[in-house]
């Protein structure tokens, strides 16, 4: 690890003060990704600011009936919170599909959003990586790219975002609250993570001088019809090849009035195609309708030798997740 100084922040204002502008300082909470990145010399902060004492561990009701989840709520605390388990089960399912209990016990919501890709070349300082060293190239393009993106990638980067939680948050249209020197702002989840374009070193739209303080879940958690399906090389403790968070709302006649389908493991950010989702509104759930949605979502997908299989895998996982989402209440149809 490189040498850095350590500072402990007592409140948000002090954390922002210690951070200043620029990437030289880094916040640490759970540290499950940052410590690893520092050990591999991928992250080389000159100052690390401990934010674990900040009062951001609460889960509170919002006036409109949603939940505000403090940035320091751990994955474990969130997944087993009674309100999450009953009203936002897709969030709990996604969290519990990721990492290990050891990691979930300390990893935080804010850190989950800001975790870096697990692209092997990003971690291997001996190789070219535009995300780690802008302008150096992308070794994954013609390298081992089984875990890499099939949607929204660029010739500069084909890394994927590794989070499970974020896939569920994308499906729910959560919001991210960030505090900066000029106060707090709210960022739509879709606008939080970026596509790589020609600046893949920037994962998110969060400013260097900002701190995530909370995520906000909207009132509707799609508890009646939801599924999180994760396909991976091991049954546990592995990153997704493809994952799908599917959420459906039916009207009284059994017609779909809202369809959400977010994908993980396929892009630089949780992937959604809102137009494709909207095309299912007003129709009854059917395998044909789900297959149509799946085909539309992957219509512009680009595979490489190592990951072309993920295009077909994604379509099948989408269909399965939507069928699973509707399965428990089949009698309602």
């Amino acid at each position: 690890m490189n040498r850095f100084s350590f500072a402990r922040a007592a409140d948000v204002a002090q954390a922002l003060d210690l951070r200043g502008a620029g990437p030289a300082a880094q916040f640490i909470a759970g540290g499950t990704n940052l410590v690893d990145l520092m050990r591999e010399h991928v992250a080389r902060p000159t100052r690390v600011i401990d934010i674990t004492r900040l009062p951001l561990r609460e889960i509170d009701a919002t006036p409109d009936g949603g939940l505000r989840v403090g940035a320091l709520v751990t994955n474990t605390a969130l997944a087993y919170d009674e309100r999450i388990a009953s009203r936002y089960p897709v969030v709990a399912a996604a969290i519990l599909a990721g990492a290990s209990p050891q990691i979930r016990n300390v990893a935080t919501v804010g850190g989950n959003l800001l975790q870096r890709t697990r692209c092997l070349y990003f971690y291997d300082a001996a190789t070219a990586c535009n995300k780690r060293a802008p302008g150096s190239g992308c070794a994954a393009l013609n390298g081992v790219n089984r875990m890499h993106a099939i949607l929204g990638a660029s010739e500069h980067c084909i890394a994927t975002h590794p989070s499970d939680l974020c896939v569920a948050l994308a499906a729910l249209d959560a919001q991210v609250c960030a505090q900066g020197p000029d106060g707090e702002r709210t960022i739509a989840f879709d606008a939080f993570h970026r596509l790589p374009g020609d600046t893949p070193h920037r994962d998110t739209t969060l400013g260097d001088d900002e701190l995530i303080t909370a995520i906000v879940l909207p009132p509707d958690g799609f508890a009646a019809h939801h599924a999180y399906v994760k396909v991976r090389d091991r049954q546990s403790y592995a990153f997704a090849l493809v994952s799908v968070a599917a959420c459906v709302a039916l009207d009284r006649r059994g017609v779909m009035r809202d369809v959400r389908c977010a994908l993980g493991g396929v892009a630089h950010k949780p992937w959604r195609d809102r137009r494709a989702e909207a095309a299912l509104v007003g129709r009854r759930p059917s395998r044909a309708a789900f297959a149509e949605l799946a085909d539309t979502i992957v219509r512009d997908a680009q595979g490489r030798p190592g990951n072309a299989f993920k295009i077909e895998l994604a379509t099948r996982t989408i269909v399965r997740a939507l069928e699973q989402a509707l399965a428990p209440t089949e009698t309602d149809r």
């Binding site: 690890m1 350590f6 410590v35 087993y80 290990s100 209990p101 050891q102 990691i103 546990s236």
Partner: protein
């Protein structure tokens, strides 16, 4: 990976201005296995290196040093963490239990005894992490079946493949403790 813990602090002359290349150490107080330790640590020192290299608590093992294998699992306030991914400075004030702290005198903890009774290890390298993880699993209270145990022990790898007997051991303690109201921690 070799790690410097306290070997380089002594070489810094006390009467000179701090070298900007050598950031100041961080005072921390940790309660480890019931014993209070007041320490000055370098900011980059992990709990794992602190335990092993400085406090000679070498029961906690360094396997992958990436949070993937679970050999370094310890308990903080009864719940499991990977000591290799934890900066000691962040854990100021924490109450830590390592494998050395599970037994009461010469009496093994129920989980330690169960690992022996069920032949739940071969080479033993992963065992301290397995036992701490299993102890934390029961403290955390989210496992109600063998499948739950399998899933919730997925952060601990065993190269000898003793998994079947490990699940037997954990399940035996789970069954015994769920039939009493006694808290099984430590």
């Amino acid at each position: 990976m070799a790690h410097i813990t306290d070997t380089d602090t002594g070489s810094r002359a006390l009467d000179t201005a701090p070298d900007p290349a050598t950031p100041p150490t961080v005072p921390v107080v940790l309660t480890i296995n019931g014993e209070r330790h007041a320490l000055d640590v370098e900011p980059w020192t992990t709990l794992l290196d602190l335990l092993r290299e400085r406090l000679q608590l070498t029961g906690t093992k360094k396997g992958c040093d990436h949070g993937q294998c679970g050999a370094c699992t310890i308990l903080v306030d009864g719940t499991r963490i990977n000591a290799c991914l934890a900066l000691a400075a962040v854990y100021d004030g924490a109450r830590i239990t390592t494998i050395e702290g599970l037994a009461t005198g010469d009496e093994l903890s129920p989980m330690q005894q169960a690992f022996i009774d069920h032949d739940a290890f071969q080479c033993g390298y992963c065992t301290p992490g397995q036992v701490c993880s299993a102890t934390g699993l029961l403290n955390e209270g989210h496992a109600t079946s063998r499948d739950d145990i399998r899933e919730q022990m997925s952060g601990n790898l065993c190269r000898c493949g003793a998994y079947v007997n490990i699940v037997d051991a954990v399940d035996a303690v789970r069954r015994a403790s769920s039939s009493t109201t006694e808290d099984n921690e430590r």
